[in-house]
Protein backbone atom coordinates (compact mmCIF):
# COMPACT_ATOMS: atom_id res chain seq x y z
CA UNK A 1 0.00 0.00 0.00
CA UNK A 2 1.20 3.52 -0.73
CA UNK A 3 1.45 6.08 2.07
CA UNK A 4 -1.72 7.73 0.75
CA UNK A 5 -3.66 4.45 0.70
CA UNK A 6 -2.63 3.61 4.26
CA UNK A 7 -3.58 7.08 5.49
CA UNK A 8 -6.89 7.07 3.62
CA UNK A 9 -7.72 3.70 5.23
CA UNK A 10 -6.88 5.02 8.71
CA UNK A 11 -9.03 8.13 8.23
CA UNK A 12 -11.96 6.13 6.84
CA UNK A 13 -11.79 3.58 9.69
CA UNK A 14 -11.31 6.13 12.46
CA UNK A 15 -13.99 8.51 11.34
CA UNK A 16 -16.43 5.99 9.91
CA UNK A 17 -16.29 7.29 6.33
CA UNK A 18 -16.38 5.83 2.83
CA UNK A 19 -12.76 5.44 1.73
CA UNK A 20 -13.75 6.53 -1.80
CA UNK A 21 -14.46 9.99 -0.37
CA UNK A 22 -10.91 10.38 0.95
CA UNK A 23 -8.66 11.87 -1.74
CA UNK A 24 -5.33 13.71 -1.65
CA UNK A 25 -7.01 17.07 -2.11
CA UNK A 26 -9.87 16.41 0.34
CA UNK A 27 -9.75 18.90 3.19
CA UNK A 28 -10.67 18.13 6.79
CA UNK A 29 -13.36 20.79 6.49
CA UNK A 30 -14.84 18.84 3.53
CA UNK A 31 -14.92 15.72 5.71
CA UNK A 32 -16.46 17.75 8.57
CA UNK A 33 -13.58 16.84 10.88
CA UNK A 34 -12.84 19.40 13.59
CA UNK A 35 -9.37 20.06 15.04
CA UNK A 36 -9.67 17.28 17.64
CA UNK A 37 -10.84 14.75 15.01
CA UNK A 38 -7.72 15.63 13.01
CA UNK A 39 -5.54 15.03 16.08
CA UNK A 40 -7.16 11.64 16.65
CA UNK A 41 -6.42 10.74 13.04
CA UNK A 42 -2.84 12.02 13.45
CA UNK A 43 -2.41 9.82 16.55
CA UNK A 44 -3.58 6.73 14.64
CA UNK A 45 -1.17 7.59 11.80
CA UNK A 46 1.71 8.13 14.24
CA UNK A 47 1.05 4.69 15.65
CA UNK A 48 0.79 3.04 12.23
CA UNK A 49 4.02 4.58 10.87
CA UNK A 50 5.84 4.78 14.21
CA UNK A 51 6.62 8.48 13.71
CA UNK A 52 5.78 11.77 15.43
CA UNK A 53 3.73 14.40 13.62
CA UNK A 54 3.73 17.97 14.93
CA UNK A 55 0.05 18.96 15.17
CA UNK A 56 0.86 22.67 14.92
CA UNK A 57 2.03 22.09 11.34
CA UNK A 58 -1.14 23.64 9.88
CA UNK A 59 -2.62 20.47 8.41
CA UNK A 60 -5.55 21.24 6.11
CA UNK A 61 -5.85 18.35 3.63
CA UNK A 62 -5.16 14.63 3.41
CA UNK A 63 -2.27 15.54 1.11
CA UNK A 64 -0.69 17.68 3.87
CA UNK A 65 -0.48 14.62 6.12
CA UNK A 66 0.84 12.40 3.29
CA UNK A 67 3.62 14.93 2.58
CA UNK A 68 4.57 15.12 6.28
CA UNK A 69 4.63 11.33 6.66
CA UNK A 70 6.66 10.90 3.45
CA UNK A 71 9.21 13.43 4.73
CA UNK A 72 9.75 11.39 7.88
CA UNK A 73 9.99 7.92 6.31
Amino acid sequence: MTTFETIAKIIAENKDMDIADVKMETSFDDMELDSLDVIEVVMAIEEAFNITIETEAGLKTVGDIVTLVESQK
Partner: protein, 297 residues
Protein backbone atom coordinates in the same frame (compact mmCIF):
# COMPACT_ATOMS: atom_id res chain seq x y z
CA UNK B 1 -22.55 33.85 28.89
CA UNK B 2 -18.96 33.58 27.71
CA UNK B 3 -20.19 34.06 24.15
CA UNK B 4 -20.96 37.66 25.14
CA UNK B 5 -17.29 38.27 26.12
CA UNK B 6 -15.44 36.52 23.29
CA UNK B 7 -16.38 35.44 19.77
CA UNK B 8 -17.58 31.87 20.34
CA UNK B 9 -20.81 29.87 20.45
CA UNK B 10 -22.38 27.40 22.85
CA UNK B 11 -22.39 24.79 20.05
CA UNK B 12 -18.65 25.22 19.37
CA UNK B 13 -17.76 24.88 23.05
CA UNK B 14 -20.04 21.90 23.65
CA UNK B 15 -18.93 19.90 20.61
CA UNK B 16 -15.21 20.35 21.28
CA UNK B 17 -15.14 20.17 25.08
CA UNK B 18 -18.43 18.79 26.42
CA UNK B 19 -18.80 21.88 28.67
CA UNK B 20 -22.25 23.47 29.15
CA UNK B 21 -21.83 25.37 32.43
CA UNK B 22 -19.17 25.86 35.09
CA UNK B 23 -18.71 27.77 38.32
CA UNK B 24 -16.69 30.99 38.52
CA UNK B 25 -15.87 32.37 41.99
CA UNK B 26 -16.70 36.04 42.23
CA UNK B 27 -16.87 36.85 45.94
CA UNK B 28 -15.86 33.57 47.61
CA UNK B 29 -12.15 33.00 48.20
CA UNK B 30 -10.57 29.67 47.34
CA UNK B 31 -10.24 29.09 51.09
CA UNK B 32 -14.03 29.45 51.47
CA UNK B 33 -14.51 26.62 48.96
CA UNK B 34 -11.78 24.46 50.51
CA UNK B 35 -13.08 24.84 54.08
CA UNK B 36 -16.64 24.02 53.00
CA UNK B 37 -15.43 20.86 51.20
CA UNK B 38 -13.26 19.88 54.20
CA UNK B 39 -16.13 20.23 56.68
CA UNK B 40 -18.42 18.15 54.48
CA UNK B 41 -15.79 15.43 54.08
CA UNK B 42 -15.19 15.25 57.85
CA UNK B 43 -18.95 15.09 58.55
CA UNK B 44 -19.46 12.41 55.92
CA UNK B 45 -16.57 10.33 57.32
CA UNK B 46 -17.69 10.86 60.93
CA UNK B 47 -14.23 12.16 61.84
CA UNK B 48 -13.54 15.12 64.10
CA UNK B 49 -10.95 17.65 63.02
CA UNK B 50 -8.94 17.09 66.23
CA UNK B 51 -8.39 13.48 65.10
CA UNK B 52 -6.60 14.49 61.88
CA UNK B 53 -2.87 13.71 61.73
CA UNK B 54 -2.21 15.73 58.58
CA UNK B 55 -3.85 18.05 56.07
CA UNK B 56 -2.56 17.99 52.49
CA UNK B 57 -3.91 20.40 49.90
CA UNK B 58 -3.27 20.15 46.17
CA UNK B 59 -3.54 23.46 44.37
CA UNK B 60 -1.75 25.18 41.50
CA UNK B 61 -2.04 28.39 43.53
CA UNK B 62 -3.76 29.23 46.78
CA UNK B 63 -5.14 32.57 47.94
CA UNK B 64 -1.67 33.38 49.29
CA UNK B 65 1.83 32.26 48.31
CA UNK B 66 2.21 31.84 52.06
CA UNK B 67 0.48 30.82 54.29
CA UNK B 68 -0.52 27.66 52.48
CA UNK B 69 -4.14 26.76 51.89
CA UNK B 70 -3.70 23.72 54.13
CA UNK B 71 -2.57 25.85 57.09
CA UNK B 72 -5.60 28.11 56.77
CA UNK B 73 -7.93 25.13 56.38
CA UNK B 74 -6.36 23.75 59.58
CA UNK B 75 -7.12 27.02 61.38
CA UNK B 76 -10.68 27.25 60.11
CA UNK B 77 -11.69 23.66 60.89
CA UNK B 78 -9.83 23.88 64.24
CA UNK B 79 -7.41 21.01 63.60
CA UNK B 80 -3.97 20.80 65.19
CA UNK B 81 -1.95 18.69 62.73
CA UNK B 82 0.91 19.46 60.29
CA UNK B 83 -0.45 20.97 57.08
CA UNK B 84 1.01 21.81 53.70
CA UNK B 85 0.19 22.41 50.03
CA UNK B 86 1.69 20.80 46.96
CA UNK B 87 1.34 21.35 43.23
CA UNK B 88 0.94 18.52 40.76
CA UNK B 89 -1.51 20.56 38.66
CA UNK B 90 -4.49 18.55 37.38
CA UNK B 91 -2.96 15.27 38.65
CA UNK B 92 -2.89 16.65 42.21
CA UNK B 93 -5.64 14.47 43.65
CA UNK B 94 -4.00 11.21 42.51
CA UNK B 95 -0.57 12.47 43.64
CA UNK B 96 -2.16 13.31 47.00
CA UNK B 97 -3.61 9.81 47.34
CA UNK B 98 -0.16 8.37 46.67
CA UNK B 99 1.40 10.67 49.27
CA UNK B 100 -1.24 9.90 51.89
CA UNK B 101 -0.82 6.19 51.19
CA UNK B 102 2.93 6.52 51.84
CA UNK B 103 2.44 8.39 55.16
CA UNK B 104 -0.15 5.89 56.34
CA UNK B 105 1.91 2.85 55.29
CA UNK B 106 4.97 4.28 57.02
CA UNK B 107 2.95 4.61 60.22
CA UNK B 108 3.53 8.36 60.37
CA UNK B 109 -0.16 9.21 60.10
CA UNK B 110 -3.46 7.40 60.64
CA UNK B 111 -6.00 9.93 59.42
CA UNK B 112 -5.31 12.39 56.63
CA UNK B 113 -7.49 15.08 55.09
CA UNK B 114 -6.70 15.47 51.38
CA UNK B 115 -8.17 18.63 49.83
CA UNK B 116 -7.95 19.67 46.18
CA UNK B 117 -8.78 23.34 45.72
CA UNK B 118 -8.41 25.27 42.48
CA UNK B 119 -9.39 28.74 41.29
CA UNK B 120 -8.53 28.24 37.62
CA UNK B 121 -10.56 31.23 36.46
CA UNK B 122 -7.93 33.52 38.07
CA UNK B 123 -5.29 32.17 35.69
CA UNK B 124 -6.87 32.54 32.28
CA UNK B 125 -6.81 35.13 29.54
CA UNK B 126 -10.44 36.19 29.27
CA UNK B 127 -9.80 37.50 25.74
CA UNK B 128 -8.60 34.10 24.46
CA UNK B 129 -11.64 32.19 23.24
CA UNK B 130 -9.68 28.95 22.88
CA UNK B 131 -8.91 28.67 26.62
CA UNK B 132 -11.19 30.99 28.62
CA UNK B 133 -14.15 28.69 27.98
CA UNK B 134 -12.51 25.63 29.53
CA UNK B 135 -12.13 26.22 33.25
CA UNK B 136 -14.15 26.42 36.43
CA UNK B 137 -13.43 26.88 40.14
CA UNK B 138 -14.02 24.29 42.84
CA UNK B 139 -12.76 22.28 45.77
CA UNK B 140 -13.18 18.68 46.89
CA UNK B 141 -11.94 16.80 49.94
CA UNK B 142 -11.63 13.26 51.25
CA UNK B 143 -10.65 11.72 54.59
CA UNK B 144 -8.16 8.87 54.22
CA UNK B 145 -7.47 6.08 56.74
CA UNK B 146 -5.69 2.75 56.73
CA UNK B 147 -7.50 0.10 54.69
CA UNK B 148 -7.21 -2.12 51.64
CA UNK B 149 -9.22 0.06 49.24
CA UNK B 150 -6.28 1.28 47.19
CA UNK B 151 -5.57 -1.66 44.88
CA UNK B 152 -2.91 -0.05 42.68
CA UNK B 153 -1.57 3.42 41.96
CA UNK B 154 1.00 5.08 39.72
CA UNK B 155 2.14 8.65 39.26
CA UNK B 156 4.44 10.04 36.56
CA UNK B 157 6.17 13.27 35.57
CA UNK B 158 7.86 14.47 32.41
CA UNK B 159 9.20 18.00 32.90
CA UNK B 160 8.10 20.39 30.15
CA UNK B 161 7.43 24.14 30.00
CA UNK B 162 6.28 24.29 26.40
CA UNK B 163 3.00 22.40 26.12
CA UNK B 164 1.09 23.80 29.11
CA UNK B 165 2.21 26.85 31.08
CA UNK B 166 0.86 29.35 33.60
CA UNK B 167 3.45 31.99 34.59
CA UNK B 168 3.97 33.33 38.11
CA UNK B 169 3.27 36.95 38.98
CA UNK B 170 5.98 38.56 41.14
CA UNK B 171 6.27 41.80 43.02
CA UNK B 172 8.29 44.27 40.90
CA UNK B 173 12.00 44.37 41.81
CA UNK B 174 14.49 47.03 40.64
CA UNK B 175 17.07 44.24 40.29
CA UNK B 176 15.05 41.67 38.32
CA UNK B 177 16.37 41.15 34.77
CA UNK B 178 14.60 37.87 34.05
CA UNK B 179 12.18 37.83 31.15
CA UNK B 180 8.53 38.32 32.09
CA UNK B 181 6.44 35.19 31.86
CA UNK B 182 2.85 35.46 30.69
CA UNK B 183 0.69 34.87 33.81
CA UNK B 184 -2.26 33.46 31.83
CA UNK B 185 -2.88 29.82 30.98
CA UNK B 186 -1.35 28.90 27.61
CA UNK B 187 -1.21 25.53 25.93
CA UNK B 188 -0.46 23.78 22.71
CA UNK B 189 -3.93 22.23 22.57
CA UNK B 190 -3.16 19.60 19.95
CA UNK B 191 -0.07 18.23 21.67
CA UNK B 192 -1.76 18.33 25.10
CA UNK B 193 -4.69 16.38 23.67
CA UNK B 194 -2.29 13.72 22.34
CA UNK B 195 -0.47 13.58 25.67
CA UNK B 196 -3.77 13.28 27.57
CA UNK B 197 -5.24 10.49 25.45
CA UNK B 198 -2.03 8.44 25.29
CA UNK B 199 -1.28 8.79 29.02
CA UNK B 200 -4.83 7.84 30.06
CA UNK B 201 -4.64 4.70 27.92
CA UNK B 202 -1.17 3.75 29.17
CA UNK B 203 -1.70 4.55 32.88
CA UNK B 204 -5.15 2.97 33.16
CA UNK B 205 -4.02 -0.23 31.44
CA UNK B 206 -1.09 -0.46 33.83
CA UNK B 207 -2.98 0.12 37.11
CA UNK B 208 -5.75 -2.26 36.05
CA UNK B 209 -3.18 -4.92 35.24
CA UNK B 210 -1.44 -4.40 38.59
CA UNK B 211 -4.77 -4.62 40.42
CA UNK B 212 -5.69 -7.74 38.43
CA UNK B 213 -8.97 -6.29 37.16
CA UNK B 214 -10.59 -5.99 33.74
CA UNK B 215 -12.83 -3.33 32.20
CA UNK B 216 -15.96 -5.38 32.96
CA UNK B 217 -15.10 -5.39 36.71
CA UNK B 218 -14.99 -1.59 36.88
CA UNK B 219 -18.15 0.22 37.99
CA UNK B 220 -16.84 3.51 36.69
CA UNK B 221 -13.73 5.24 35.43
CA UNK B 222 -13.55 8.75 36.89
CA UNK B 223 -11.13 10.73 34.74
CA UNK B 224 -9.81 14.21 35.43
CA UNK B 225 -12.49 16.37 33.83
CA UNK B 226 -10.54 18.21 31.14
CA UNK B 227 -12.28 17.40 27.89
CA UNK B 228 -15.03 14.95 27.00
CA UNK B 229 -13.28 14.17 23.71
CA UNK B 230 -10.24 12.85 25.62
CA UNK B 231 -12.40 10.26 27.40
CA UNK B 232 -14.17 9.31 24.18
CA UNK B 233 -10.85 8.78 22.39
CA UNK B 234 -9.52 6.59 25.25
CA UNK B 235 -12.77 4.71 25.94
CA UNK B 236 -12.67 2.20 23.10
CA UNK B 237 -9.01 1.35 23.54
CA UNK B 238 -9.66 0.57 27.21
CA UNK B 239 -12.80 -1.46 26.51
CA UNK B 240 -15.16 0.72 28.55
CA UNK B 241 -18.76 1.56 27.66
CA UNK B 242 -20.09 5.13 27.73
CA UNK B 243 -21.97 4.33 30.95
CA UNK B 244 -18.69 3.41 32.66
CA UNK B 245 -17.14 6.83 32.05
CA UNK B 246 -18.03 9.44 34.67
CA UNK B 247 -18.82 12.83 33.19
CA UNK B 248 -19.04 16.04 35.16
CA UNK B 249 -17.34 18.34 32.70
CA UNK B 250 -20.72 19.43 31.31
CA UNK B 251 -21.53 21.22 34.58
CA UNK B 252 -18.11 21.84 36.20
CA UNK B 253 -15.73 22.60 33.31
CA UNK B 254 -12.08 21.83 34.03
CA UNK B 255 -11.41 22.44 37.73
CA UNK B 256 -7.86 21.02 37.65
CA UNK B 257 -7.11 18.72 40.62
CA UNK B 258 -10.53 19.39 42.17
CA UNK B 259 -12.34 17.69 39.30
CA UNK B 260 -12.04 14.09 40.51
CA UNK B 261 -13.12 14.61 44.17
CA UNK B 262 -15.95 16.95 43.07
CA UNK B 263 -17.30 14.28 40.76
CA UNK B 264 -16.73 11.41 43.21
CA UNK B 265 -18.83 13.23 45.80
CA UNK B 266 -21.62 13.80 43.31
CA UNK B 267 -21.63 10.16 42.14
CA UNK B 268 -21.69 8.86 45.74
CA UNK B 269 -24.45 11.27 46.70
CA UNK B 270 -26.57 10.21 43.72
CA UNK B 271 -26.03 6.54 44.55
CA UNK B 272 -24.37 5.94 41.17
CA UNK B 273 -21.31 4.70 43.04
CA UNK B 274 -21.75 2.62 46.19
CA UNK B 275 -19.49 1.00 48.75
CA UNK B 276 -17.82 -2.06 47.28
CA UNK B 277 -17.63 -0.66 43.74
CA UNK B 278 -14.30 -0.85 41.92
CA UNK B 279 -13.35 2.44 40.30
CA UNK B 280 -10.45 3.74 38.23
CA UNK B 281 -9.18 7.31 38.63
CA UNK B 282 -6.98 8.83 35.93
CA UNK B 283 -5.50 12.32 35.70
CA UNK B 284 -3.08 14.28 33.51
CA UNK B 285 -1.97 17.87 33.41
CA UNK B 286 0.66 20.54 33.76
CA UNK B 287 4.14 19.46 34.68
CA UNK B 288 3.60 17.36 32.71
CA UNK B 289 2.21 15.02 35.34
CA UNK B 290 -0.09 12.02 35.22
CA UNK B 291 -1.55 9.61 37.73
CA UNK B 292 -3.96 6.69 37.87
CA UNK B 293 -5.23 4.23 40.44
CA UNK B 294 -7.74 1.45 41.08
CA UNK B 295 -9.81 1.81 44.25
CA UNK B 296 -12.39 -0.41 45.91
CA UNK B 297 -14.83 1.98 47.57
Amino acid sequence: MVSEIVDTTDEWITSRTGIKTRYVSTTETLLDLAVEASKKALASAGIESKDLDMIICSTIKGDYVTPSMACLIQRDIEAKCPSFDFNAACSGFVYGLDMADAYIRAGKAETILLVSAEAMTRHIDWTDRATCVLFGDGAGAVVLKKGDGLRSIKITAKGDDKLLVIGSVFSPSPFAKQPQIDPAFRMNGGEVFKFAVSSVIKDVKQVMKEAGVEAKDIAMMVPHQANLRVFQAARDKLGFTDEQIANGIDHYGNTSSASIPLLLDELMEQGRLVKGDLIVLTAFGGGLTTGACVIKL
